[in-house]
Symmetry: C2
Subunit: 554 residues, 2 copies
């Protein structure tokens, strides 16, 4: 394909490029960065989650590729969630920072890989992986202990920012490692791969600490309980709530299993510092004066089964929204979740809560760099080649235009989609072929068994339902043995649709009576389909079981 031996391959097909999994390869030796999942979009019916299709990597390994390790940049699901699936096929050591490793351990145990080698590295550490010398460096993001990677290759230094923002005043007091970036620049950067999530947003993403001000205002005014909903992994936000709670003499209760687990891991590893008497069980919080309580909860995306969703619909086992409650939505809706989030907010208000969300108050900020930060990163590193990653095509193109404004020639920039390989030499960037593969749906226990055909069937069923009919014909007389039985769901409400069912039965009887040649099953299905469409303008799936029998018993 190319005379270059250095190949970069973002995997996954759908969605944000290079977000969930990337392969870096030099002369048949490789390393993998991240092993995450994607969440299904609204029209991916019934799907639990989506993993990158890494079969191509497995095939390459069978053909001689050596993968030396998997480096995980941070502990978000879209970077660690597929680790179990990956280790089922690619059994190589995993490298991660302490918090990320703490979260990975849980995943590995669940996936029956509890004994898999997991190497803990601290930001700043160097990992030697075959031809690659990987220098990790600390970045700020919406989970602590994230790293970017300076990947030294025989062709030059490739820097991968992973998800980041340039937060000068992060809650954990650990700013980005600008010194390392400057050092990279001094040594010369062959290529930069950078987070494009907010490449269409002007300015600089506000620091996490701006939220303190908004929290302060809410805590100083609220008379009743305060319920703060955020992502379970947003440890710094939990720290901010804890600080505010202590300042205003409130105790803190944690609602929700996943958040409790994150808090446990983060506290054990020192990423979360909670005063020993701050946390109280939910049962105890329920007995305290409302003005003395703050409750942390999950469910900011309107998930009906998370704590906030159950509170909104009055289905929580221990907690109930009361008049006077103040709910802070300390998160933004992820695109696609807006309807559910808004519905949840309306339901909470209906139950008597006051709900604070952005833009009413600045109770959340993004974890991703905006345009001014992206410009700074490029100008700090002055890379020869630029590869925007971690974004949809629309973000990558904006990021590419931004890089061009800073003087990087268009021909030195590669905007590609997942599955497209990029080759680099010290003075060339070549966009290669699309490799086979894409993404894989996970539905229940099934990994990859739900494909486009099943999905298409689910769409039809979701829109118009189905109808089946049992047609038993007397083998001797050729007449119906009984009125055809119809079972239908999702099409019409059967209790009110006697007329339509009788009409369908009459259609079947008529087809059987008139039928002379050809496939009777098809004839029945076609006739039903036509009649039902004319009557209802709907197109349910229609199936007939047709048998000739020698009489029915009973």
């Amino acid at each position: 394909m190319s005379d270059s031996k250095l190949r970069i391959l973002p995997l996954g097909g759908l969605g944000e490029v290079g977000k969930n999994m990337m392969l870096f390869e030099y002369d048949n030796e490789g390393l993998i960065v991240d092993a995450g999942i994607m969440f299904p979009e609204n029209d991916m019916l019934g799907i639990d989650y989506i993993i990158p299709d890494f079969q191509y990597v497995v095939d390459q390994m069978a053909a001689g590729l050596t993968v030396h390790g998997i480096v995980i940049t941070h502990g978000h699901e879209d970077h660690i969630g597929a680790i179990g699936h990956v280790l089922d096929y690619i059994t190589v050591p995993v490298y991660a920072t302490p918090l990320t490793a703490g979260l990975l351990e849980v995943k590995l145990r669940q996936a029956k890989h509890g004994n898999h080698p997991l190497h803990i590295v601290n930001a700043g550490d160097v990992i030697e992986l075959g031809p690659f010398r990987v220098e990790t460096f600390h970045v700020c993001h919406s989970i602590p202990d994230g790293i970017g990677l300076g990947i030294n290759t025989p062709e030059g230094l490739v820097v991968h920012s992973s998800d980041f923002k340039f937060d000068h005043t992060p809650v954990d007091g650990w700013p980005p490692d600008f010194a390392k970036l400057a050092e990279f620049a001094q040594r010369g950067v062959l290529a930069l791969l950078a987070d494009s999530t907010n490449a269409d947003r002007e300015g600089w993403t506000p620091s996490e600490t701006v939220i303190d001000k908004a929290f302060d205002e809410v805590f100083s005014q609220a008379q009743g309980r305060i319920i703060v909903a955020t992502f379970a992994s947003l440890i710094s936000r939990i720290q901010q709530v804890a600080t505010a709670a202590q300042r205003y003499g409130r105790k803190m209760a944690i609602a929700g299993y996943s958040m409790s687990e994150y808090i446990k891991v983060a506290t054990r590893l020192g990423y979360l510092k909670l005063p020993p008497d701050l946390i109280v069980p939910v049962e105890q919080a329920n007995k305290m004066a409302p003005g003395k309580v703050v409750i942390m909860a999950t469910g900011t995306q309107g998930e009906p089964s998370a704590v906030l969703g159950r509170l909104a619909w009055g289905r929580h086992r221990q907690l109930e929204i009361m008049a006077g409650d103040t709910v802070i939505m300390s998160a933004h809706p992820i695109p696609g979740n807006e309807e559910l989030v808004h519905r949840t907010v309306n339901k909470l208000i209906q139950r008597g809560a006051q709900v604070i969300y952005d833009p009413i108050a600045q109770v959340h900020v993004s974890g991703h760099a905006r345009r001014d930060e992206l410009k700074l990163l490029i100008n700090l590193l002055r890379p020869k080649f630029f590869i925007p990653v971690h974004g949809e095509l629309r973000h990558l193109t904006q990021h590419s235009l931004l890089a061009q404004e800073l003087g990087i020639p268009a021909e030195n920039i590669a905007v590609v989609e997942n599955g497209t390989e990029i080759f680099l030499t010290a003075d060339k960037l070549i966009v290669g072929e699309r490799v086979p593969g894409g993404y894989v749906f996970v539905d229940g226990k099934g990994v990859g068994d739900v494909g486009p055909i099943v999905m298409h069937d689910r769409e039809i069923l979701a829109r118009d339902g189905f109808l089946t009919v049992l047609v038993l014909i007397d083998a001797e007389t050729g007449e119906l043995c009984e009125t055809p039985e119809i079972i239908s769901r999702g099409f019409v409400f059967l209790r009110d649709a006697a007329e339509i069912i009788e009409m369908a039965q009459a259609v079947v009887a008529n087809v059987v009576a008139e039928h002379k040649a050809g496939n009777l099953t098809t004839a029945i299905q076609d006739a039903l389909s036509k009649t039902l469409y004319n009557e209802t303008k709907r197109r349910p799936m229609i199936f007939a079981f047709v048998r000739e029998v020698y009489g029915i018993a009973g």
Copy 2:
């Protein structure tokens, strides 16, 4: 219920309060404002649209209520779309401004109400409707010729803003009727009903004319074709594109039936002023130099069947995206449509287009007033009572807090949901009961036949599909006549699932062989359900047809 004779009732159940239909009633005489539809949310599977349930009004009319007319405030679907359904049951005159009437005529013809009395009023006209003297006044919005209503009642003047923004420099040069508002204030306003859509947004919604600047920049730079996508009803935007096209020597082609229709009506009535030689047919535009063409298109919400969706997926009959095309998304995604809109943008980029959308450039502004405008409206009118409408609960509560900041006491404000009646006297506001009714799903020809049960079935089918099995048992031996036939969709991909199907058949055979007492059909369904869940962690709907027969023929 109350000693007040003046009752205000927003109808519809779901969604934005008072948006689609309201009843104003005094002593058994009434008027209806608007007759619109709602669009289904993502989880309302298979639904075409939603209408307010106005059965309560019909019942009241049977019991003596006289409705004197329906006043339509503007021509958007959520205000006119249900007119046909309403006139099927409530045959009273309809009042609207010229453009709104022009759009209504089409609806009335389609609904076989072409001869229904439709009275054209001009903004500023007064409509006498029983005890109500309705003074219409011009408002600015994202469709021309919108009106608000000053409804003089025996208890006092009730002002209804309907959808509005205070645009000082609207494209059509027709600013809001501030003089009328001032006059209302002089006479004293009993109650104000005001648009709450942007009540959680600080500041003042930018004027429509700010878009000229963004268009100017795009038109001055684009080398290839320009494709502007916007709402078919956004006549002022079409006017702005026409003006820019003329300035930069481009011809304009219209793609999409609905937009062509809107343009026809708006041009005929003088709301759109197009130079006679500006418009060219799409076929002609296809033959012209790309730099000489601008194409207007629908599909800003990512609808796959609209023009932009078909262009994005390469399925348009006449047009194809070419490298060098610039697509302007001159609209914001309506909440719930974000995923589809982003996917469309990514697909257009994939095909070689550059895509401009907010926030990349200010190519769209909202048609609804923000907080500073809402404050101005309240302070212009100084109403005694305040009823925030046209918003979800979260918007209404923000609007209520804003009104309280301006000095309106909380007890003089009514935040209610659709279906809740409000009574007013010269010095009292009373929130009454919830009247029966809500909303009605329209699906194909069915109006209201799809309710919660069918919807729930569609959810299950969408998630896990269904499986039916035909079980024919020999009446004499009690053994299966044949291997049970299984039909399944949306559950597993049958061609790859032979193992699961064979397992299901074995389960059926086993149940039949072991069965001693009770309902065999239920026993088969339960056993299948259990086995399939264990194997797949999915729960398809399962149905068995079971018959005892005296042998099968053939």
